[in-house]
Symmetry: C2
Subunit: 188 residues, 2 copies
């Protein structure tokens, strides 16, 4: 567990507050959608004081990002299959599963909501994307270290992730395994 | 002018109401963002009765889609340069200009907002995308008729439009002419 995770889930009372607040956010997102509730409503549902939320997260944007990242990391740990094609296919399949799953458009909606929410929103969005990008870059670096000819992370974003995101956003699913593998094979 | 456009802008009083309502929506989107205002607020700002809006557009979703499509069609008429590569490069450059312009993420935000707004929102989104897709398909059909080897419309979406949308959504702009042309050349 790294320092950041410790700060986020310090154990004991802090851990209980963290879990209650995460659950409250998840419930409110499901019930109403992103951008349709306040810190006060999260606090009321979690049974904590507003000030506890502001003290730990600083803003609603940072809290939303923390919840989305935690969920994303639980649902899609970065694969390590031993080959680049295996890793990328497994990664793309995970992303496809998350964005077509019960949470549906949640991560995309959050990204759009943050992009529309001023400087704090943009900072939270960039922190969210930087954390995901760092993990993808590690996967590509491992391939390069093995002597494989890896694309750069932006190439993966442009030609594997972006088509999947936009197809879901535009209601052009489902994302079949053949389609997802095809995006990876075309890139490589 | 086709029948649908006539229905939308019937001239005389209808045209004045249409223009006032479109302007009111554009102002409210700029001031507050999509999903942050009601039909009653549009009506008040446009100086018309709520019932005039419901009679002509049926729902807020349909009205939002009409405004977005009208703006998009004004800003990016489909090019006809005589070659596939010329048409696709011109089309991609237009889309890049619109999504990086002063309206910024507006069209993407609208698509997400509609996707999150129940059955009526989904229908409006699909009508919006179908109208854009039909125009792209005509461009590709012209190329095929000239004997060129055209990709299908989904290929253009996946590998030219989607990367641009996602880069803007994720704050990874600007979209340089070299980048945009490169997406087209890579697809062809």
């Amino acid at each position: 567990m790294n320092e950041r995770q410790q700060a986020r889930r310090p154990g004991g009372r802090g851990a209980r507050v963290g879990a209650a607040v995460h659950q409250a956010v998840t419930d409110l997102v499901t019930d109403r959608g992103y951008g349709k509730f306040t810190v006060a409503e999260v606090a009321a549902r979690a049974g904590v004081a507003d000030s506890s939320i502001y003290r730990r997260w600083g803003s609603l944007e940072t809290l939303l990002t923390d919840v989305a990242l935690t969920r994303l990391n639980e649902q899609s740990p970065m694969p390590d299959t031993g080959t680049l094609v295996g890793d990328l296919r497994a990664y793309a399949a995970q992303v496809a599963r998350v964005i077509t799953g019960p949470d549906g458009l949640a991560v995309l909606r959050l990204t759009v909501a943050l992009s529309s929410n001023g400087e704090k929103g943009l900072q939270a969005r960039d922190a969210f994307l930087a954390e995901r990008n760092e993990k993808l870059q590690s996967m590509l670096d491992r391939a390069t270290a093995r002597g494989e000819n890896a694309p750069d992370a932006l190439g993966v974003l442009d030609h594997v992730m972006a088509p999947m995101y936009v197809r879901i956003l535009f209601g052009l699913g489902p994302l079949t395994p053949e389609y997802v593998d095809g995006l990876v094979d075309r890139l490589l």
